[in-house]
Every structure is written in C-alpha cells, then in structure tokens.
Symmetry: C2
Subunit: 428 residues, 2 copies
C-alpha cells in the first residue's frame, strides 16, 4: 500500500492539549505513524514547513445534501409559506438522477470546506451512496421515513443498510424516521425494534421548533423523553437527534448517554427562525453534541467551519457570558463527536491506526499571526475560515488540494447540477 508523508505539520485533535509539529505517515487509508517533526526525510507528499496545521476532517452530522438543488428558492419567508409554496412542490418533483447530481454538488462544497464525512437523511438514498462512493467521501446515510402507511420506506431503508452498510469502509447506514410529527407512534416503535434487531443507528429530527411537540400530538400525553423511552428509541445502538433546539435545560441530563448524540445546527436554526438551542446546558449535562449544516435550502452553506464558529460565538452572546462554549469544544463537536454519532470508531482523531480523514490548513496568512501550540484552537475557530483549507484527505486519498478537486471534474458536476435544477424548477 502506498505510504505518504505529511512533513512538519502542526497536529491538533480533540484529545491533544497542545498543537505540535509532527511528521505524519499514512499508509493506504490509515494513519500509520506520527513522529516529532524532522524525524523523516524522504517520500514527502506534503511539505508543511511548520506553517500548515493537520487536524481531523470535519463531520457534518445533519443534512440533506441534494437540497443544493433547492438553494435560494424563496428567502426570508415565514416557515410554513416557504415550505408549502417554495420547497415541497419542487421537492416532490425530484427524481433519483437529480438527487445524485445535487448530492455530487454538495460533496464538492463540503470537501472544499474541510468536511470528510457527512450525515444524510433524504430519499433515493442509493443515489446518494453512489455519489459518495464516486467522490470518495465518507458518510452515514438514512432513508427519510415520513408517513409510510405501507411500510415501504422502512423496507427501502433496511435494503439500503444491506446494500451499503460498511461498503468500501466509507458508508454506514442508519434508519431515518423523520420526526415524531411525521411518523406515528407504532411505526416509531417498530423502527426502534428493527434498529436493535439489525444493530443499526437512527437519525431523527428532534424538537427543532417550539410548536413541534403539539404538532406531533404527544403534548400532554407524554414528555419527549417519555416518548423516546416508550418507543424504545432511547436505547437503539446509536441515536442521532438533529436540532434539539427545544429540549430545554431540565431535560438535558436524560440525553447524556453513550449511544445518544445531538446534532446542533446553529445556522439553520437561526435562518429559519427556530431559535437558539441551549448548547451550554447540554454540554454541562454531559450530552455528546456534534454539528450539522442541515440542507442548503435552509442554511445556505454546507460549511462546518461556519457552524463551529457560530456554535462558539452565539451562545456567548445570547447567554451574556464570554466563557461559554470554548473553541476546543467546538472543534471536538465538529470532528470526533460527529464521527462517533455515525458509527465511525476509528475516525475523528489524528492517531496511529485511525483512518486518514484529515485536513491541511494554511497558517501562513495574516490572520494567523500569533498562533502557538497552546492557542491554535482559538485561532482556527475565531480567526480562521474554510478558505484556509489547503487540502482535504479522506481515507488517505487527497480529494481536494489548492482549490482544485483532484479526482472530480468540478465543471461537469456544476453543469449537471445546473441542468438538474433547470429541469426541477423550470428555470435556471
């Protein structure tokens, strides 16, 4: 297997207290060894000169990739008007080919902003899997289950798991019940049982808007936490709860479990007017939190660096406390926490034996003057941006470098997405 040396790079991950200059060797899809910088001399694939950081790639823990085709269809509208008039009528016309083209477009955007792994809940998920494998990115996929009176969507999701779970070491599959207000109680129970039977994780939208619990008809009958217990969802192998804007402080500790992760989507929650999740309370309660962009129609950037900066900034302001949510916490959410949520046990850290999912960051820029081994997380989160990503590596393959996609024809992907959007919306 091919070995590659990333020489004299500044290594940081969520388990390190300091960012130190190292020589990092990958072999095939793995990180083989890490030495102090200056140890190795030959076979250099990347010369960091002590001015390039190497950190784990970002994990986008919640999204709907193909919604890139719906980006910008109506802005600044009340939520239901936007959904009913702009999004749903168009979304209904999506076909498998469009989903594949839209997903490929999303993958380019994610790779160029440092994301090496993404969660997805949508439909035509076999097409999402194909686009991901063709582009070499890691992902955790679920078939969004809405309604489903005949059980066909759950069946489709289970078939997706059989076909793709573990595929090429890059894909995991979760079950995807959309939300308590779109899936009825008995089906939710059945999905939880299936997840346990098949040892699969679950992706679920959870308390995104303040009115959601009354929409779902559970209000008064049971609390959200009782609902998770009574459906059996709370002890599926892995439960990824997206949004969690309205869980509230008191209930937080219920969710502090090894098998549960919140996907915090701060920018989508702002843009749609859903609110600001009480993230500091969740962290204090010991809940594992990852970060997501949500779909491009409700964000509108698929850029986890933007989310982690937002996550680190907004709660300080709304909580009137500059000590809330540290830069290191935000980076941990954006990397290893997302990896764990999607069932990837050996990604998210820069560690021997781990998968080589990592990004290179150019520190030789005006806004990084002053970084050192102790303060690098602060510089990355508050001063940096995804524009600083020099290279994105997934499973040892350099997929993006110096502004170019090394294995994908960007112009083709853009042209195909434009054509798909034209077909979908009736205009460019």
């Amino acid at each position: 297997m091919i070995k590659k040396l990333y020489r004299d790079v500044v290594v940081w991950d969520a388990e390190r207290d300091s960012a130190d200059r190292c020589d990092v060797v990958t072999e095939g899809d793995k990180i083989l060894s890490i030495f102090p910088a200056g140890t190795l001399r030959s076979g250099c694939a990347y010369e960091g000169r002590g001015k390039t950081a190497l950190i784990p790639g970002f994990v986008n823990a919640h999204g709907h990739a193909a919604m890139t085709l719906l980006r910008g269809l109506g802005e600044e509208l009340p939520l239901m008007e936007w959904l009913q008039e702009k999004i749903w009528p168009v979304e209904n016309n999506l076909d498998g080919d469009m989903v594949k083209k839209g997903t490929a477009l999303a993958i380019l955007e994610m790779l160029s902003t440092g994301t090496t792994c993404f969660a997805d809940m949508y439909f035509y998920m076999d097409k999402v899997a194909e686009a991901s494998l063709e582009n070499g990115i890691r992902c955790g996929l679920s078939r969004g289950i809405v309604g489903d009176s005949d059980g066909s969507k759950l069946k489709e999701n289970l078939r997706l798991a059989r076909d793709y779970h573990g595929k090429e070491g890059l894909i995991t599959v979760q079950l995807g019940p959309h939300a308590p207000y779109t899936v009825d109680f008995d089906l939710m129970k059945e999905i939880a049982a299936k997840a346990k039977e098949e040892n699969l994780g679950v992706q679920l939208h959870w308390l995104e808007t303040s009115s959601e619990w009354s929409i779902s008809g559970q209000e008064g009958r049971m609390t959200p936490e009782e609902y998770l217990s009574e459906t059996g969802m709370i002890d599926v192998p892995s439960l990824l709860l997206a949004h969690c804007v309205w869980v509230g402080r008191e209930a937080s500790s219920f969710y502090a479990r090894e098998n549960v992760t919140f996907a915090h989507n701060p920018k989508s929650n702002l843009k749609l007017g859903s609110g600001v999740a009480p993230l500091p309370d969740y962290l204090k309660a010991g809940v594992r939190v990852a970060l997501g962009t949500d779909g491009a129609a409700s964000n509108n950037r698929l850029d986890i660096w933007d989310e982690l900066r937002c996550a680190a900034m907004i709660h300080k302001g709304t909580g009137n406390d500059p000590t809330l949510v540290t830069s290191a916490e935000a980076l941990k959410m954006a990397t290893v926490n997302g990896a764990r949520a999607l069932g990837f046990k050996d990604t998210g850290l820069i560690k021997e034996g781990y998968k080589a999912d990592m990004i290179l960051i150019d520190l030789d820029q005006p806004h990084y003057v002053g970084w050192d081994s102790g303060n690098l997380p602060g510089f990355l989160v508050y001063a940096g941006s995804s524009a600083d990503v020099k290279a994105t590596v997934v499973a040892g393959r350099v997929l993006y470098q110096n502004g170019s996609f090394t294995e994908t024809d960007k112009d083709r992907v853009i042209a195909e997405a434009k054509a798909a959007r034209r077909k979908l919306t009736g205009h460019e």
Copy 2:
C-alpha cells in the same frame, strides 16, 4: 488617465433591484461608464463571462486595526479579567511602529475579504494613516480619546484632521471620544463643539454593554438620548455610534437622523458576551445602520462578509422570525451605509461618477448554482463567503487579485507583524 474595462460582470448595489450583466469602465479612480454587457470589446482588464459579480467594496464601520497584534491573547475569559489581565497591560506597550505594522497586517486581511474602506479609532493614528496610504485603502480615522485631562489627545486628533482629512482622496478624519464612561461630560461637550466648528464627524462607542450607562455615572441623571442632546453630540456633522447593543426599541426613533449611523458589530458583541443588538427595531425605526468587525482581539476576523451574514442570520433566530433582516438590507449596511457614515459621498454604489471601490466575486462555484438576477443578494449573503472574492479594487487600483496582493509584499508584512508582536508580548 488609464481606463479599465470590466467586461460582462454581474453588477449589483443597494440601489438596484436586479443584478444585470454589464460592461463597467473605470478611469483613474472613478467609474466612468456602465453599459449592457457586450457593448464594449477592447481594452479588457477583467473578463467576467457573466460568472463574476461586481459589487461595491465593503466598508468596515468600526474597528481598531492594530489590535491584530493582540489577537488571541486570552480567549473565553470574563470581560474585565480579559481586559485587565490580557489586553490593557500589553496594549500599553504599543508604540507607533507597532501600530503601523499591526495596521498593515489588518489591511491585508481586510483587502483579501473584500473591504475597501475601514473606520479606525486607536492611537498613533498618523501611523495608521501612513499604513493606509501605503497600501492604497480608503479609511475614516479617529484618535481614541480617553481621560485626556490635559486636552492633548483632542489636540492630536485635530492635528490628525489637519494633516490627513481629504488626503489623496482616500482619508477622512473624525474626532474619537472613546465612550461616555471614559470621557467626562464637559470634554464630550467640547469635542462636540469642535466637531461642529471644524466640520468633522465623530466616532463614539455607544451602549455596548448592559452595565455601561451606570459605569458612566449618567444613569438616573439623564437618558442616553438626553446625554447626546445636552453634550451637543446629536447634531455634529456626522455621528457614528459603535455597537448600540443596549439602545433598546423605544429609543430607536431618536436616532433616525441623516447625520447618525449605528455601527452594528454582531460578532464582537457575541464573542464578548455583550448581547444581541435589536437590529430589526433599529431598521424599522429608520436608523441608518452600518457593519463593523471591531478589533481583531474581540472578534477575531476582520471580515465584513462574516458580519453581514451574521447580521442577516442572528436576528431571525433570536427573534424567531425568518423574515427579519433581508440579505439586501445586510449588503446595504455593509456598503453604502458605511460609506455615508465616514463621509464618503461618492463611494458605496456602482454608479457613473462614483469612486471605483468595488469587489469581484467568483460565481462559478458549487454554492452559487441557482443564482439569478433577482436572487443574487440571497446567494451572496447566505451561501457565499469572502473566500469568493477574486479581486478588490480601491479608487480604481486592483489591490488584491486571485489570492495575491498586487502592490504589497505579504511575506514582509507578516514577518514585520510577527516581529512587532514578539516585541510587544515577549513571545511569538
């Protein structure tokens, strides 16, 4: 004078309802003429191919540029601990040379993120003026006046105005009383009188934190609005009030005057835990609002694109209303509103006879698929970022293009800033 043609670029500014393909000709420091795309054929300086937007450069309406040298000195600390232990002791050691080096570093960051004009309130302001002229950027400068029992700082500010106001058509000078809690009432009155006498604008920190009015000792004695009236500040030729987090809804209409501008600094206000300014109320009341980054120690990016996205997003979330603060409003704040606040009457729009302060934006990227002449502001604000800036033009001069500074040696500026920071802080 040299003419330059920007051919087939997509022109947008805050006075246009649609973004149309145009040929734009500059002559010297001005925009000479604007034709429909395809009109002109020869003398092309920039070929846009209908895939490059040309919009007014951003105006950073509040900041302390040389604080780039203090970036990252303590993060996530309570405000007073951070100021007293990390910032002030170091800031006291700044000298004129350091201020120049730190300002030059800030200018590189601002140019690369699309800012063509910045407001500055600091000290050694002649050095800030020198750095600005050397780098060709536009600015509005004020000497930060704190204490000043002997009147020397006000004198220095007036001398700055004599030496630099109007210089090379690039600089305006304002008076810079720091805040009501650092300048006493009589001096504030004197500064207001001087501003009227000399026909100068004023930059002033205003109600940044919730406790500020009690610190200033005015609480109970008079309202903030009475203070502005009684000192005479409210009718200086131009009053730029920075932050305005705690003005409140009821008082908003008082500030809706042609000579008054708020500089909204959403990210600094978040990061320092100051709060979220009620921007939608200000806009509703008809207050002119511009956008600022504040200093790099409290933000930590000097990137107005980040601020305008934040301004357009955060109020939707905290107000639970996705219709608040449109993308077009955010872009207007970031461009022409800032220009007006700093006394530049012919910048901030793409208009014949206006100064050629403008940025070129690469729309040929995955996240722009779907833009059209009607929705471009939404794509720029929600999907775009400063990484999309292909070129930054100030007064007709292309200062930044394709990742390079055309008239400045980036490596030298970074090396000099590093040396200045080392000298200032005692470590790299």
